[in-house]
């Protein structure tokens, strides 16, 4: 098991290297660089810089160097000093910006992941065991609505409901008065009252998808011979189902950890913008639009790392859960 984990971690090294290359290449792809986009913004505002200043800025930012030099400077900074470069637009080191955002992103991701599990597990089991019953059809209907409704519309609707009927301050994860306050019980409660909208919105489609996956998997497993074996032992029905087929149908639940992190960062950007959530998505979007290359590149790289870590965690959990994986 330990050897397996070490091997997996070692495999991550070349993958990460490739990912850093691709991340850097992607942010170089659009024509121009941060300066050109900055200059055009300034030109729109009527300001013009002389050639000398532009050249000075260019060399100051390192933009006059060839691409591979820029890459090497960036990657050595990360590897040796944990320095992800400097955000042109925010005039701050990238690392400070990112850590701020990553915390809230992780918090929302994990909370919504648990919400997805908590809702879809019982419903999925119910739907599979009572297939084609009224309850199953009702949940299926709701599930498809959840899949079909665009997240941002749901977000807008819930914000309206929250503001209009509950008189809540909506958007963000804190009310204005708590934003800079130190942690207290009141601040925590305030956070909870803000969190329910993003959690429901983000968990909605995941839950619907997970119910379908669990229902399909469990339906297959329910007709397996080992279920008959368990019945023939004299186990009561609920024990038969929970202990054997459900246990085996759980694998996709665990695998979902792997894809939920990247999905939350990139997939729900629009929702995060609508809800004014301080997560990574909106920041990344702005960095890409403004060609703030070190910020964007670092974000993409970090998301790659998160994906790999998520996959690793889910693979390890799968191996713990399922001896067939552990032994092969």
């Amino acid at each position: 098991m330990l050897a397996y984990i070490i091997r997996r971690v070692l495999y991550m090294v070349p993958t990460l290297f490739g990912m850093s290359l691709i991340a850097f290449m992607i942010i170089q792809l659009p024509p121009g660089d941060y300066l050109t986009s900055l200059l055009s913004t300034m030109a729109d505002g009527g300001q013009n810089l002389d050639e000398a200043t532009i050249a000075r800025l260019r060399s100051q930012y390192g933009l006059d160097q060839p691409v591979y030099v820029q890459y090497l400077v960036w990657i050595t900074g990360i590897l040796t000093r944990g320095d992800f470069g400097y955000s042109f637009e925010w005039n701050q080191p990238v690392s400070t910006l990112i850590w701020e955002r990553m915390g809230s992103t992780l918090l929302i991701s994990l909370a919504s992941l648990f919400l997805v599990w908590a809702i879809s597990l019982p419903i999925g089991i119910y739907s599979a065991v009572r297939r084609h019953s009224f309850g199953d059809h009702a949940f299926t209907f709701l599930g498809f609505i959840g899949l079909a409704v665009p997240n941002f519309i749901l977000a807008l609707t819930l914000m309206y409901v929250g503001y209009r009927f509950f008189g809540q301050s909506v958007g963000g994860i804190f009310s204005p008065q708590y934003a800079d306050a130190p942690w207290s019980m009141a601040k925590f409660l305030d956070m909870l009252s803000h969190m329910w909208i993003p959690l429901i919105v983000i968990a909605m489609s995941g839950t619907a998808a997970m119910i379908r996956v669990l229902r399909a998997n469990l339906s297959d497993e329910l007709s397996r011979p080992y279920v008959v074996t368990a019945r023939a032992k004299g186990l009561p029905e609920y024990k038969v189902i929970l202990k054997y087929p459900v246990r085996i149908a759980l694998n996709p639940f665990v695998s979902s950890i792997g894809w939920v992190l990247p999905d939350l960062v990139s997939g729900v950007t629009i929702t995060a913008i609508v809800l004014n959530l301080p997560t990574a998505g909106p920041l990344l979007l702005r960095a890409l639009v403004g060609q703030d290359m070190y910020l964007a590149g670092s974000f993409i790289l970090l998301m790659g790392v998160l994906t790999l870590v998520g996959m690793l965690i889910s693979d390890i959990l799968l191996a713990v859960l399922d001896p067939r994986i552990r032994f092969n």
Binding site: A3, I6, R7, L10, Y11, S223, R224, P225, Y226, V228, T229, A230, R231, A232, K233, G234, L235, P236, E237, Y244, R247, I248, L321, D322, P323, R324, F327
Partner: protein
């Protein structure tokens, strides 16, 4: 104490399907006696498995018990199981407590994610008030009784670490965990090799006699019936057509269906003496079509990337240095247990699997010799037109979304030699050849039974007018009577078209019926090669003798298995 442990009276089961009600079981009556075995015989779909499970009230949806009594004798008098509430505590106490169940799929009848020990201990603790520690001791004792070596350690193993035979033993241990009075064994050995089958049947028999259990054994194999039964009930279309002591059923059957079943079995047993197989092939003066020399396939010798895994030097040799010749018009049987490498051998000859070393020489119709191991992709395709494969599973080997016409014409159209209309005519001709109505060609595979599907598979193999056919367990998924029909079909086709067959099977009686010569494989090696008749009646290699003597004999007066030869290990 009464002699009869359980008696079933007029049991009827219905399946409520979407369009109609299927009467799966009708008015079935039989008795299970203490210490005696009743064999329930019938072909697939006859209702024998549902009947057996109904005794424990395990009836899959949409099945329903609609009438009859299941009377179980007990310490507090007779209980009618059919009248108990479906999910009541009495039923749960009976299941595993008084009636144990062992069934077919040893691969999937135990949970893959729980240890063998935990599954057995669960069965024990469900009915007995024992501490975990005591349950573990008892579970180990049970494993010892079913002859699993090193039971203490095996308790912590998972089922996928067990062989098929070991799993079936573990399953039996679980069924016997609470000393039931009745054991239901539903095709307990169908998925096992003959030698393993013989061991498991021995074991069940011994345990039954030690415990004086009544047993209901379900099987489709008349050989197994003859070896194990005291009484026999023959089932067809949900009814018991004939019921009686085993000797009378075998030697004085009254119902025509029983006779038909026995005839189909005996025909194979009599073997080549009654079949035209020997007449087909004589001369060895001719050059072989396919000749294989030193063929070897080893797995797992490649070093792992990053070098972390357990770098074992000794690679597993699935096929080890195999030589044989296949002559034109000959049918060569390849016999062996699972894991003997016979299927790999077939795949190597087709080069679906790449051989590690060795030569395969193919002689074309024009007499040119080709080294198959050297062919490039295009040449390999031409080779595959001449050498074709018939699969084992008639259900999985036909694409359910294609009509029969599309399935059979596919190789014709792929080879690009025919127009659509010509292909249609050819398909009709092929269907007639395999004994199907050409009008059936627009239908989809699901409309056909297993035997008919295998005929379609054969027609597909014949479409390109091959010279050699490799049949990998082509008849093992079929019922006895269908099996002999398909074998007769293959024989007549072979005669008419002068084909050579490489006939891979674990079933010795089938090989004896169909083949001229037989190659016996064991652990990747060829143990013995010779005439089919000689191999089956007077084999010289010790392994072959052991194998042949493990085949159940369909004659209750001559139980071969009891006197069989055992491995000397």
């Amino acid at each position: 104490m009464r002699d009869t442990m359980l008696s079933v009276r007029n049991l009827s089961l219905d399946f409520h399907l979407r369009t109609h009600i299927l009467h799966a079981v009708r008015d079935v009556s039989f008795d299970l006696r203490r210490g005696k075995t009743l064999c329930l015989v019938g072909e697939s779909g006859s209702g024998k498995s549902v009947t057996a499970r109904a005794l424990m009230r395990i009836i899959d949806k949409p099945g329903r018990l609609v009438g009859g009594q299941i009377l179980l004798d007990g310490p507090d008098g007779v209980v009618d199981i059919a009248a108990l509430p479906e999910r009541g505590r009495e039923i749960l106490a009976l299941r595993g407590g008084r009636i144990g169940l062992v069934f077919q799929e040893p691969m999937s009848s135990l949970s893959p994610v729980h240890t063998v020990g935990s599954q057995i201990m669960e069965a024990i603790r469900q009915h007995r008030k024992l501490s975990k520690k005591d349950a573990r001791v008892r579970a180990a004792d049970l494993l010892r009784q079913v002859e699993i070596p090193d039971p203490e350690r095996m308790l912590d193993r998972y089922t996928f670490e067990f062989s098929g035979g070991m799993r079936q033993r573990a399953m039996i241990a679980m069924a016997l965990a609470c000393d039931p009075d009745i054991l239901i064994a539903d095709e307990p050995t169908t998925a096992l090799d003959v030698t393993t089958q013989a061991e498991i049947l021995d074991l069940i028999r011994r345990l039954q006699q030690e415990r004086g259990m009544a047993m209901l054994l379900i099987t489709h194999d008349m050989g197994v019936v003859a070896e194990t039964a005291d009484d026999v009930a023959v089932m067809r279309y949900g009814r018991i057509v004939e019921n009686g002591p085993v000797d009378r059923i075998f030697h004085a059957p009254t119902h025509p269906y029983t006779r038909q079943l026995l005839d189909a079995t005996m025909k194979l047993e009599r073997g080549a003496a009654g079949s035209p197989a020997t007449a087909l092939f004589e001369a060895k003066a001719v050059e072989p079509v396919i000749s294989v020399r030193g063929l070897t396939k080893s797995y797992g010798s490649v070093g792992k990337i990053f070098g972390f895994g357990s770098g074992n030097g000794g690679a597993l040799k699935a096929v080890d240095n195999v030589d044989f010749d296949l002559y034109p018009g000959e049918s060569l049987g390849i016999v062996g247990e699972s894991g003997s490498g016979k299927t790999t051998l077939g795949r190597l000859v087709l080069r679906i699997t790449e051989p590690t070393s060795g030569r395969i020489t193919y002689r074309t119709a024009e007499g040119r010799e080709i080294d198959v191991t050297d062919l490039n992709k295009a040449e390999l395709r031409a080779y595959h037109r001449d050498v074709r494969l018939i699969f084992q599973d008639p259900f999985a080997s036909l694409n359910p979304r294609m009509t029969v016409r599309q399935i059979i014409a596919d190789p014709l159209l792929v080879s690009g030699k025919m127009t659509d209309q010509q292909a249609g005519e050819k398909v009709a001709e092929l269907l007639k050849m395999v004994g199907l109505d050409p009008l059936a060609m627009e239908r989809y595979p699901h409309a056909f039974s297993g035997g008919q599907r295998q005929r379609i598979g054969i027609a597909r193999a014949l479409a390109l007018e091959p010279r050699v056919i490799i049949a990998d367990e082509a008849t093992s998924a079929l019922d006895v009577s269908i099996r002999s029909q398909i074998l007769d079909l293959l024989l007549s086709i072979r005669q008419r078209l002068g084909l050579s067959f490489l006939f891979i099977s674990h079933d010795i009686s089938v090989v004896r019926y169909f083949c001229d010569r037989v190659v016996v494989m064991h652990k990747g090696h060829i143990v013995e090669t010779g005439d089919a008749e000689t191999i089956c009646t007077d084999p010289s290699a010790p392994y072959t003798r052991r194998l042949i003597s493990s085949v159940p004999n369909p004659d209750p007066r001559n139980k071969r298995m009891l006197h069989r030869m055992r491995a000397s290990s």
